[in-house]
Amino acid sequence: MRIAIAGKGGTGKTTIAGTLARLIARRGRPVWAIDADSNPNLAVTLGVPREAHAGLTPVPRTILRDDPADGTGKRKILAVTASDVVEQYGFQGPDNVRLLLMGRVDHAGAG
């Protein structure tokens, strides 16, 4: 199941996302929490201790490279496999919820 949470800023999206991820994990399902916001806050509502936040590495733009099939240089493809990204940048949080910070890469070259 692939759940996204949308709504106006300040309406409690991140609080619901983090709490929901933990509660689903407590019901026995493996959970990935993905922070797609360029200003990531999901770690806090997931309950990742503040001391650990420095160790959270956002997925960098270097996972992307130019698509050789495209002459404009605008199209990007993954330079590494998805499982490598997950292994390298996935952070194990409380209740075994795994967290990925995608905001930075998602905004790479936006526009």
């Binding site: 199941m1 692939r2 759940i3 996204a4 997925v59 992307l64 990204v85």
Partner: protein, 150 residues
């Protein structure tokens, strides 16, 4: 169409090939992100419905976009419900726009406190809001189980 967004969709899709995993994506506030990005790799869109006009208007557009993107399950989550009047307003709005309202999360002062303290809201004891979100978790997993039986 921005190539980075395509790559992110691809990555999320790759992670999710294992159907046992549940993925929860906290989206950017802006709707532009929803229109371009992760939409195609999402099967369930939860849209927060907070009882004030601007928030509901944003949510209505998010619901329309979610449907246009072909997301199978687009539902509303009432949030920060302070009283019966708030609940009625959110229900009326959901009904008027044909949005299934699958949870009503009450306003909880502990959200702000836990944010200040840097602690997880889930750890607040006896929170009615946490209970409502747990009800949402149960509903989602039941939907997922039903979809997989078909």
């Amino acid at each position: 169409m921005c190539g980075a967004h395509a790559a992110v969709r691809h990555l999320i899709g790759g992670i999710l090939e294992d159907q046992a995993h549940v993925t929860v994506v906290d989206m950017e506030a802006g709707l532009e992100h929803l229109s371009r990005a992760t939409g195609r790799h999402v099967d369930t869109l939860l849209v927060t419905l907070e009882p004030y006009y601007k928030a509901l208007e944003t949510s209505r557009r998010a619901v329309i976009l979610g449907r246009e993107l072909g997301i199978g399950r687009v539902v509303g989550i009432g949030n920060k419900i302070r009283d019966a009047g708030d609940a009625a307003a959110v229900r009326r709005f959901a009904a008027a726009h044909d949005i299934p309202l699958v949870a009503e999360v009450p306003f909880d002062e502990a959200v702000r406190r836990s944010d200040l303290d840097g602690t997880a809201f889930i750890d607040v004891p006896d929170s009615t809001a946490v209970r409502a979100i747990d009800g949402l978790a149960g509903w989602l997993l039941a939907e997922d189980a039903a979809a997989r039986r078909h």
